[in-house]
């Protein structure tokens, strides 16, 4: 019996050493795009994120250098349990190395734990919660595109400084809404403003009239929309109907995507101020990428910042893999490498991956154009200000990430 056990141990030790020898120049990578493929976030992430990932693989040039890169995609349906089940299956059965995108903060935080447990790589582009690089930070996670801290500071600060010192929140009742409301409240009060009330609405609400009436009755100067996607578009559309903006109150769309503006229509959306880190019409690089992207996407839409973030995040990941000379299949190791290389890509420009996993790059304050100013089907934004990357995101000394305390 003892012989059998020692033979087994010897066998597995040999297998392990063979595996580690193989990994030194292993050039096989498998990437999973986990997104909302059919729900309220499908247009701003979804199939477009998968396309962005494909384009990143092509543009990285790694295939020509002998790498094998596979891509799969999954639909988390905005349910954390489904998201984690897919993630586990991808790591255990499909041998996925890296999970990207994952919009919906609730799902994103749940998947964050799985990736850490399985020592994979997690490049989140779609989720907003700043917890991913604070309380819930992980050595396996890179949070690319934006977060609630950035949204709160850029949009919130600008509005309070413009005189909007009393706020009422319409908050989506899950992790994301709570994080965005919390971060914005901090900014509002730090700048001398006051939050006079708020209401939490269920995710994916069709009718906001009750909530809007409460917001109207609060007499707050600013109605902060701490929600996203269809919830935001419905709030804005119905606020116009109830004469909220005409009555002198201002809407703060704390998170607004290109596809949302399209859905609301310029007639109703004009004049809204909000923050994004990418817009297709920013410069020649973004226009060139967006042209290629929209030609391939079935709907013909240009990329949203989430989809752009999937592309840019993967390009940076490939840089790290190339620098390592092979895929170590060790997520923490790859992410550590990603943190040592400054980020520089055609879509987000220069920046860095900070020790807590937060990627910093410039954030832009936009205003939605008037219908008369728009020259094309997706010509929606006017740039009104730029927040430099080193000021847009949580300063490291304020981050509560445990990785920073070593």
């Amino acid at each position: 019996m003892r012989n059998k056990i020692s033979a087994l141990l010897l066998g597995s030790a040999m297998a392990l050493s063979v595996a580690s020898i193989a990994s030194a120049d292993d050039k096989v990578v498998k990437i999973g795009v986990l997104s909302d493929q059919s729900g309220l976030y499908a247009d701003l992430a979804g199939p477009g994120s998968t396309l962005a990932a494909q384009m990143a693989i092509e543009d990285s040039g790694l295939k020509a250098k002998g790498w094998t890169i596979d891509l799969i995609s999954g639909d988390h349906q905005n349910k954390p349990d489904i998201g984690t089940t897919i993630a586990r299956q991808w790591f255990d059965v499909d041998k996925v190395d890296t999970i990207v995108d994952v919009p919906n903060s609730g799902v994103a935080l749940a998947v964050n734990n799985v990736v850490k447990e399985k020592n994979g790589v997690y490049i989140n582009s779609g989720a907003a919660t700043s917890d991913l690089t604070n309380a819930q930070c992980s050595p396996n996670t890179v949070h690319w595109t934006y977060d609630t801290y950035m949204l709160a500071h850029a949009t919130g600060q600008a509005l309070v400084k413009a005189g909007g010192d009393t706020w009422f929140f319409l908050t989506a009742d899950y992790a994301f809404g709570a994080a965005l409301e919390r971060d914005t409240t901090a900014v509002v009060t730090a700048n001398g403003g006051k939050v006079v009330g708020g209401v939490k609405h269920p995710l994916n609400t069709a009718d906001f009239s009750s909530f809007l009436l409460q917001a109207q009755a609060s007499k707050a100067k600013i109605i902060g929309l701490a929600n996203a996607g269809g919830d935001t578009t419905n709030s804005i559309k119905q606020a116009a109907e109830f004469g909220i903006v005409k009555g002198g109150q201002k809407l703060a769309a704390l998170l607004l995507f290109l596809t949302d503006v399209k859905a609301i229509g310029l007639e109703t959306a004009q004049g809204l101020n909000f923050t994004e880190t990418f817009y297709w019409d920013l410069n020649d690089n973004t226009r060139a990428f967006s042209k290629r992207f929209s030609e391939k996407l079935k709907s013909g839409a240009p990329p949203t910042m989430v989809q752009a973030g999937v592309y840019a995040g993967l390009l940076h990941y490939f840089k790290a893999l190339e620098a390592l000379g092979g895929n170590p299949h060790d997520g923490a190791k790859v992410v550590a490498k990603m943190k040592t290389i400054p980020t520089d890509d055609p879509l987000f420009g220069k920046g860095e991956v900070e020790a807590n996993g937060r990627v910093t790059h410039d954030a832009y304050l936009f205003e939605v154009k008037k219908p008369s100013e728009s020259k094309g089907p997706w010509d929606f934004y006017k740039l009104v200000g730029t927040v430099p990357g080193n000021q847009a995101f949580t300063p490291l000394d304020k981050s509560t990430c445990a990785l920073l305390k070593k």
Binding site: L40, V199, P202, A206, S209, A217, E241, G265, E267
Partner: protein, 287 residues
Amino acid sequence: MQALYAQLLVGLINGSFYALLSLGLAVIFGMLNIINFAHGALYMMGAFVAYFLLNLGGINYWWALIIAPVVVGVFGMILERTMLQWLAGLDHLYGLLLTFGIALIVQGVFQNYFGSSGLPYSIPDQLKGGVNLGFMFLPIYRGWVVIFSLVVCLATWFLIEKTQLGAYLRAATENPTLVRAFGINVPRMITLTYGLGVGLAALAGVLSAPINQVRPLMGADLIIVVFAVVVIGGMGSIMGSIITGFALGVIEGLTKYFYPEASNTVVFVLMVVVLLVKPTGLTGRAA
């Protein structure tokens, strides 16, 4: 107190949609014995037809109120002729599964072509703006929705419960063979009834297009609530579903005011309570 009035009114507005949709469901269930799970998808199609009419044909909202229900109604009648009629006499489950499948297919097709965020449809110029009622600012369009749907609901109730045609229909569901013996074309009547129910759904879709986004999943989000309304009101009861539709809209509106987190579950809690106390629904006749 003012806020309370406002919430009551808002609830009534939502209730109009519930009433219109549940009315269509009740008509179809009552007359055809089909649990029409495709109702939400057909409601969505109504909104999309209105969108196409405006953006491709330049045909305004008022015409859409007439054309969209007809177009979608015809689509519904084709469904009934080609598929649903073969399920007559079988267990309800078959109809439910078939219509559920149809709903998924229709929604999938629309989603494939139009994405999930939806398309804008603006309020017709004549109904823009609002009036200050003292306790709230009432958008004229919302007021229009309440009045219009109330009229449509009552007209439908009148048609089915009080006219000769309605009498034939009710008789045909009780005993199709006997009614046929009187020389009435029962299958055609059933097809037309399905068309009517579907047309009501499409009408609700057109009404909601300017308020909500015209989205492929707009019906899927609503249909579950509407089913709860029908169950509470009593399957197949016309007046029951109208009254419960409006009443539940109001109850939901009040929940949004007093405890917003529960606003999308309150209807189901009520449904459970009603089923426990009176399994046939508030106004339902025992099967």
